[in-house]
Symmetry: D2
Subunit: 319 residues, 4 copies
């Protein structure tokens, strides 16, 4: 292959830039021209291409977001748009595409690969919800950001002996909530995957007050229940002062961690090798300590289980 | 004086611990016993006293919140409660009180001083709203926390070319919003002190889009308008994707900055000297580079002006 | 078991406190009394014991260092000291010991286990040098601290177009250097495991200058070569301005990351289970995503290989 | 004025980019073309000019270092070089120059202003050593970086009950050392301005050990004594384990704080106004809360006093 394009798509995640840098620089050493696509899939349709050289990606390891910008791509779900996308790339002499993104973006991978265009995905989303892959780029940073925020909130919670509900990202999945909950010492963690029992929550808080805990911290994924709804429910049961904090978009940004910078670099390298080797319709990720490829159809449609044993630890360590 | 009590009251602020440490250690070198009151003013009524020695306040400089804990004190506004408070302290042999807190807490200062009990306040609130004092303990840290959060959000705003509204603390005053807005490169800053013009905001965003600005950032104090209300208004005028982030409680916590650690140390020292010198009904703060005392009646009732020239700079530097 | 002791030993590592918290709280829920030993192994000899309850370990997840304090323990290598240690513990009714520490400390594990006292180790050292274990508690935090420091130094390196040598910890092993090097975009990484070629380094820098790289960053483990020696060597070959930064002790401290807090919690839990199950002479660690136990004799004496493929990537991504 | 140049010179400081951004954007709104000079004064001689527009300085508020790069400029001290510099600028139609930098760089200001070329300086150096100016851009960030590093080191110092010497920047002046020392809870602070008494240091450490202080922290400016020399001296008097950490270049980099971002923005604005008003040979700084101008001859040659009352507080609060 002589010319490969790289695109970031869907929600941005810390480490996307590190993956772009890896693709550009390793492509360069392999004698492949790397074409950056701007603004996600729609950038292909709109001819937003630019050749990227090693110096163009200097200083990117530490930078959150994506210099290629990104977009949500509803219209890309239509077949004729997909065909047009392939046509546009062929006109540019692009022989393969690397898609850096999460679940929605890798559906684009599946669609293009089915139509015969060589595509390899790089698993990158703070949601960490791709099947067959332990960690996607951005998750580690997002959880670290969340726990640093919760550490700050605990200062206030302790100072006022208050109950706090902290809402973290996760519309459908509780990966961020479980890790952030365990790592920040939450007393209760609520996730979309497990129906919660309000009586148990109330009991737990009451018991904590009796045990003279200085504060109570509930971490909930936005998809389990919205924090302000839970606040009202708890205040209807107990005569206590409940406060709410919705961490929101700070979880998406910021400088990536060691882990995200390193896997981004490794994923980028592997995506290139796979394209060169003639593979398509795969997503690059990590399993255990191994960089692996997963069939994109499996990655986006099979159900990735949460770590129940980690989840169950919440109660034991918050006694 | 042989025995002085110290209490933290109202909302916690980063640097309160540093002020406690300063009072305890400098008190010790002066041969004064320092009594910590737990849980704010109500701790006095409830006899929550403990003698504090230098080793009890080790490691506190870097710690957010307040180890003495704090509380809001509605009932303390009643005269008989105030008399009881003085009585309780006298019973403990306490000859003076240092109140670390903001506007509400210093009203307690005023009440007790009027009744003849020696009290000196230490200006500490992230709201920075005490008249006659340029900076209160906690403000610098709160704004630094806010701008670090906004820096992260800008990664996403830039990556998606989106308009973002970031709501910061400030029910009545815009001090945090102005400083956070200027320091994070906000295009628009909304504060309670100045009525905003929605047409101008819309025009400003439109113009920015034409100038190909990658994103728009609006920083609003919660007291100017709630972010989600503003979101709806903007989306009713413009066909753009607006996102909202409410920074909330993270602004209260965290390890204090250089500035807050140093002024906390200096304020604590000065509060002791003032009590020893026989002063009462004052609040210790900073004006320019000088540690000053302000009559508590003025501090809590006179209106502290915002910095209009700084506010007006927002537009000029966001072209 | 009714009473189990926990000790931290050797160099402190971020996450040790999280492991102590986990042992204390999970022990409590299992009905086991947890005895904290202060000041490392010598604390056993000196009867520095204290019973720890769940509230004693509040707020520890986010705290670097070890509240139990630690010490280097040369004298503990003598057999009679080891026998005395066992005797002292038996006198306290202690039936098992959890040793949180790295290579040196786990040699104590081996010694006591051989003499029949039940001991389980928790792998915790920023050096990450225990065989059979992918990650020890503290390593992830140490590398994150290092890369945040190097990010700051890169600001100056870029501003002055300078060559910088950054020395990271690692007397015998290059784990920190490799990960910090890849994650901070180092052009050259020097580790104790691989003899370096000064001609190649000089060539690499020269070539970079010709390619108009804004700066050059060399990350070296202290055990490969001291930074100031390398500085002199490079300046003897090239007429350039080389600067040196020795990161030093900042790498040991600080609030632990998501990863270190979580594995510390899991390791603590597993160590308790192993003692209860009657195991001894093992070290708890992580391999892939699984919490595992390793024979302590293997953990401390077998040679853990570095990740050569990661190491070799340095050159490719710094073109 | 129609065309004004801006240059960063000498050691880089966090906030220089924010000052560049301010000059470029406010210049733009005033209808003045801003020319960026690359690589410091030598960039003028070498015709390294580029016109800067508002979008060229996007995202700069949070970025450490200087995008214009900088250099030390020994040869600029020669008169003929200074004349050539003026000539070069005039050829470009440049009518005024803004020099962002510290003591050395502002000497260039003095030289050019004396020769009739309109120059205004912007006080920016982490050393904070310009007379008549309370704070220079970069100092607040540098000290905050230092105290965050020392906070990490304290984790280890406490865990091992060790004495630590932390060397901070400051070849000639102790501004960083005093503020970092007070704000990090140092027991002893050594600065170039005050001769230290080794007997007193030894006594202080001994006394601390007797008072069961968990650790001792000495903060020394590099210009007072090098940390490793002091280590040897202390170890020759006392049988204790002393460790050393030289913070070094991390103090120069990193994202600027609230304070540095705001004063950088204000200084940039004022520098432009002064040039437009026909002033020259001044340096813009802050005194109290007022943005002020100082005669450059005074700024670079008069002696700025340290804050002795702050310095004297070290002992009182480290009891």
């Amino acid at each position: 292959m002589k010319r490969i394009a790289v695109v970031t798509s869907g929600g941005d995640a810390p480490g996307m830039n590190a993956a772009i840098r890896s693709v550009v620089r390793i492509g360069y050493t392999k004698g492949i021209e790397i074409i950056g696509v701007y603004s996600g899939f729609k950038g292909i349709i709109e001819d937003q291409f630019a050749s990227l050289l090693p110096r163009d990606v200097s200083g990117l390891l530490e930078k959150g977001g994506t210099i290629l910008q990104t977009s949500r791509t509803e219209e890309f779900k239509e077949e004729d748009v997909q065909y047009k996308t392939i046509e546009k790339m062929k006109k540019q002499g692009i022989e393969g595409l690397i898609i850096i993104g999460g679940n929605g973006s890798q559906s684009g991978n599946l669609a293009l690969a089915k139509k015969g265009f060589p595509v390899i995905g790089v698993a990158s989303t703070i949601d960490n919800d791709l099947w067959g892959i332990d960690y996607t780029i951005g998750f580690d940073t997002a959880v670290n950001t969340a726990i640093q925020a919760i550490d700050k909130i605990r200062d206030t919670a302790t100072s006022h002996a208050r109950t706090f509900i902290i809402e973290v990202m996760g519309r459908d999945r509780g990966f961020i909530a479980i890790d952030a909950g365990i790592a920040s010492g939450a007393d209760i963690v609520l996730i979309p995957e497990i129906k919660f029992d309000i009586d148990k929550i109330i009991y737990n808080i009451k018991e904590g007050i009796e045990k003279k805990k200085k504060h109570h911290m509930i971490v909930c994924a936005e998809g389990a229940i919205r924090a302000n709804e839970l606040e009202k429910i708890i205040e209807s049961y107990l005569d206590i002062d409940v406060r709410v904090s919705v961490l929101g978009y700070i979880q998406r940004g910021g400088s990536p961690t060691r882990f995200d910078r390193i896997i981004a670099t490794l994923f980028g390298e592997r995506a290139l090798s796979e394209l060169i080797a003639g593979n398509s319709g795969k997503v690059v990720g990590i399993r255990g300590n191994n960089i692996v490829i997963v069939d994109v159809a499996d990655a986006v449609s099979k159900y990735k289980k949460i770590n129940y044993s980690l989840y169950n630890l919440v109660e034991e360590v918050s006694v």
